[in-house]
Amino acid sequence: MPTSTDLLQGTLDLLILQTLSLEPMHGWGVALRIQQVSKDALQIGQGSLYPALYRLEYKGWIKSEWGSSENNRRAKFYRLTAAGRRQLEAEVETWDRLSAAIGLVLGRRVEVPR
């Protein structure tokens, strides 16, 4: 089971941004969503999740505000900012290029975007 530290440098940021691009979410929700969507392949511990969230917020890509959770508990919700959306687009593009390039090196048949 790969933990987040095994993820490529910067990939965690990409995953979080992508997850938040759908709807505002709290930290727990983000972790859960990534785990579910990746079919339990990616489990993100709080030890890397929260520093990443803080880092993204300090960079101005996401914004936090307090709201109430599904079960009416006070929770901090993160949502993507306009700068975050631009950053996400840029990172997705980079990712596509990179994974296509790696695929080529590994001899997979992939279509190079662009």
Partner: protein, 871 residues
């Protein structure tokens, strides 16, 4: 983008509250438990598993905190606060460090300000960074500042593409003559029409030049400087349109330039350069070129382009053979050579002073670090990492050096001001000693670097304390020697560098004293000199010129209080022209091998006026110099050079002009004492005096010996014979000689100052090391005295290390003196290096021994009873 930045800046100041972070993490944990319960675990089990999965909260907290941009600044601020507390707690210790650093950093900032202005900062005119000097380069004579001829200049201007402006200007002097004002000589330039527009200068009154002013046959106009306007015309607006007479030609004043404007070279008067047949000659090289490069054009490109043009001209005209174009910045052109070397020498000297200061401070910190070992051990025991301790100590050093630096800024400012005053007379007007951001950047870098430099060794040493040893031991580890080698090395280094600086300063001072003590027989303080330049237009031939001086001389002698008066082509000690000579009965194959003699044309009474003894033969009488009575007097050294081993009186010689054409035979009638006429000359030429009637020159110096100031009467006497002729450069001879040696005198003072400061610092450094050593061995000394050690024993014990360090420092210093003396030689300063070196070494050794004797004596005179109980 800006939004992102604002967010980041906001977070610099507002960091997240801890409670929020905790609540968020707690929420996460609760959700995790809830999920596990929902999956069927018992609440207690779910809680346990969740906690295990969750891991340590504290690490996450710290990690989150670290994401904040600038999170480390809080730690640094804490360290700065802590350092400030420590500095205040040890007030005297800190004050000593701050003062030492203030001297070091202040001197460096001062000298860098000067170096920056003299070597790097653009000329302070609009577009100064693009301003260049254009001249010819004669490779054959390796003279890179040959003025240009007007036809060449016009070709350069017409064919070049890299300049927005290319202007030419002469350097001459202009005598202003009007009915209502006394005639006066100013420095004047005749320049092409764009000279003002090039540097965007506008007249404060009237106008600058128009293109029509330089057309042949244009009405002659003149623009005057602010100083001339203020002093000569008392700032009257009516000066515009005024008719004046310049060098015997009429001209109309059309404009006044702003205050402080003297472009290109300390000019007071400007006239348009109207082409004349004289200027059209290709061998009349009178123009200094100034160019404003187009935006984006480089100096190198300009040089290449002009050299292309110069190559074509050289092929076409024989007068331009061997001439290349040479484009340089103002700094390269006018501040090259000696000036450049001496400023860099100054920078090197203060660099060493700063190193000495840092070594001093490092030594003080080292001795303090011994007494701080306990503090450091406790910090390390509480878990501070090594890097953390080093950082804290370095921050302390940088805080200290910044305090020193700020204090030093005041010192630097007054130093620059002093230098500015000292050089006002001799520097070009466009050198303005002011600071800019480069200087400030240098200063800031200096503060931080010197802090790190003196802090690093003590910090590294303190950061790995011997934990158990120190905590178990008492406060002090007596007799511990580790780290001693470091402070010893620093002291040795200080003494070596100080020796080099002292010797360097000594060479300058010695050289200055040599220059001032030459010609000691001349009563320079009683001699007043002034220059007269007879205009060729009115004094057409030698007879007219001789007649003028013949009439002037009795008038000068008649001034009340005047003991002697004479006329000479140059004042004593202030240089002379030279010509090749042919000795009778001595055959020399070609002109180049002829001896050259320095020649002074003098009037009767000259030798009496300057109190020069005639050793054999006679001086000049009234008849000497008339046709067929050609005569000469040579100095004793001159006679020995021309006729070694023979009696020169009665010998004959001829002067040759530059084409080798000989003049009349001249008989040597007398031999005078020796005189040094050319102050800075490696191989002195034989010096020869000729009667002024024989030469008939028009540019002469009046020399008057008097106890009272005779200048006003001299002016009156001159005006009686020719009212349109001014006396220029009036001054006392001693002042003139002083001014001639300004270079030695100014830089001698500066280097002596640097060397003395260095010596003081080195002495203080040694003192503090020995004092610390004695105070940490008080008990031991008490025991030794109690056991019967004599005062001499204790003195020797305490001083031994210091003496050894002084000796080693002096020995190493010798190695530095040799290259330094060579560099000093390149700026024309040399002297009895060995002798000066010995004096410097002796002085330094005495100061050093005194510095270790003081604390050692205190130790030797300790009361043993008190010393043993000390603690």
């Amino acid at each position: 983008m800006i939004g992102e930045w604002l967010t980041r800046v906001r977070f610099l100041f507002a960091w997240k509250r801890r409670g929020e972070m905790d609540e968020e993490l707690r929420f996460h944990l609760e959700q995790s438990i809830a999920l596990k319960v929902a999956e069927g675990m018992s609440p207690a089990e779910a809680r346990r598993v969740a906690m295990v999965e969750f891991g340590g909260v504290e690490a996450t907290r710290e990690e989150c905190e670290r994401q904040r941009p600038g999170w480390w600044m809080a730690g640094v601020l804490r360290d700065v606060r802590y350092a400030a507390r420590g500095i205040l707690a040890h007030r005297w210790f800190s004050a000593a460090i701050v003062v030492t650093l203030a001297l070091g950093i202040g001197l460096n900032t001062m000298v860098f300000t000067l170096v920056n202005v003299v070597l790097f900062k653009p000329v302070p005119v609009p577009g100064g960074a693009q301003l260049v000097s254009v001249m010819n380069y004669n490779h054959a004579r390796s003279d890179q500042s040959v003025p240009m001829s007007l036809p060449d200049f016009e070709q350069y201007r017409a064919q070049s593409t890299v300049f927005d402006f290319l202007e030419g200007a002469t350097r001459e002097s202009g005598v202003l003559v009007e009915k209502s004002n006394a005639p006066q000589r100013y420095s004047m330039t005749r320049a092409t029409a764009g000279i003002f527009a090039m540097v965007q200068a506008k007249a404060v009154l009237g106008r600058g030049f128009l293109p029509s002013d330089v057309e042949p046959g244009a009405a002659p106009v003149m623009v005057i400087g602010y100083g001339v306007w203020k002093d000569r015309y008392s700032s009257s607006a009516g000066v515009i349109g005024r008719q004046v007479n310049v060098n015997g030609q009429p001209a109309t004043i059309v404009g006044v330039m702003p205050e402080g404007f003297r472009f290109p070279e300390n000019s007071d008067l400007w006239m348009p350069l109207v082409p004349t047949p004289e200027l059209a000659k290709r061998d009349n090289r009178a123009l200094w070129g100034y160019g404003m490069l187009k935006r984006g054009a480089t100096l190198r490109a300009a040089d290449a382009e002009l050299n292309g043009i110069a190559g074509r001209l050289a092929a076409q005209f024989p007068e331009d053979k061997d001439l290349y174009a040479n484009v340089l910045t103002f700094h390269q052109r006018f501040n090259g050579g000696k000036i450049r070397v001496v400023f860099l020498l100054m920078l090197a000297a203060v660099g060493f002073v700063l190193l000495i200061a840092c070594a001093d401070v490092a030594n003080m910190m080292l001795s303090r670090s011994l007494s701080r070992e306990r503090e450091m051990s406790i910090r390390a025991a509480l878990g501070a990492g090594r890097w953390r301790i080093v950082r804290q100590l370095l921050i302390e050093s940088v805080v200290l050096s910044t305090m020193g630096g700020v204090l030093g800024l005041g010192l630097a400012a007054s130093g620059v001001h002093w230098f500015d005053l000292q050089t006002k007379q001799i520097r070009p007007y466009w050198i303005e000693f002011s600071t800019d951001f480069t200087v400030f950047g240098y200063f800031a870098a200096l503060c931080i670097l010197s802090g790190v430099l003196f802090g690093i060794a003590p910090a590294l040493r303190s950061s790995r304390p011997d934990l158990m040893g120190v905590l178990n031991d008492g406060a002090r580890g007596s007799g511990r020697r580790s780290g001693g080698w470091l402070s010893a090395t620093l002291v040795v280094f200080q003494f070596a560098v100080t020796l080099v600086l002292l010797t360097g300063a000594g060479i300058f001072v010695r050289s200055l004293m040599n220059s001032l003590s030459t010609n000691a027989f001349i009563p320079a303080a009683k001699l007043t000199t002034a220059r007269v330049d007879l205009p060729e237009k009115r004094y057409k031939d030698a007879d007219a010129r001789v007649k003028y001086f013949d009439e002037l001389l009795p008038e000068l002698r008649a001034i009340p209080g005047v003991e002697h008066a004479a006329i000479a082509s140059d004042a004593p000690g202030l240089g002379a022209g030279s010509q090749p000579v042919e000795l009778e009965h001595v055959v020399v194959a070609n002109l180049a091998q002829r001896p050259r003699a320095a020649i002074l044309a003098v009037s009767p009474g000259y030798f009496e006026t300057i109190h020069m003894p005639i050793l054999s033969g006679r001086g000049f009488g009234e008849m000497d110099g008339a046709a067929h009575r050609e005569a000469a007097v040579v100095t004793r050294d001159g006679a020995n050079m021309l006729w070694p081993g023979q009696d020169a009186v009665g010998k004959r010689l001829r002067l040759l002009d530059d084409d080798g054409k000989p003049g009349e035979w001249i008989t040597v009638v007398g031999i005078s004492g020796n005189m040094l006429q050319e102050a800075q000359e490696d191989v002195p030429k034989p010096l020869m005096f000729l009667p002024y009637r024989q030469q008939g020159w028009g540019n002469m110096t009046l020399i008057v010996e008097s106890d009272v100031d005779p200048l006003a009467s001299m002016r009156k006497a001159a005006a009686k014979i020719d009212a349109e002729l001014p006396l220029s450069e009036p001054r006392r001879l001693d002042a003139a000689i002083q001014q001639q040696v300004w270079f030695l005198s100014l830089f001698g003072k500066i280097f002596t100052g640097f060397a003395l400061i260095a010596m003081l610092m080195a002495a203080v450094g040694l003192y503090s090391v020995i004092a610390h050593a004695t105070s940490s061995r008080t008990q031991e000394i008490g025991v030794r005295i109690a056991l019967g050690a004599t005062v001499g024993n204790i003195l020797l014990l305490m001083m031994r290390r210091g003496l050894w360090q002084i000796g080693a420092g002096l020995a190493i210093g010798v190695a530095g003196v040799v290259p330094m003396a060579r560099v000093a030689g390149t700026v024309g300063v040399s002297g009895q290096v060995t002798e000066i070196f010995l004096v410097a070494a002796l002085l330094l050794a005495m100061v050093g021994v005194f510095a270790c004797w003081l604390p050692a004596r205190r130790a030797a005179l300790l009361d043993p009873v008190k010393a043993i109980r000390c603690e």
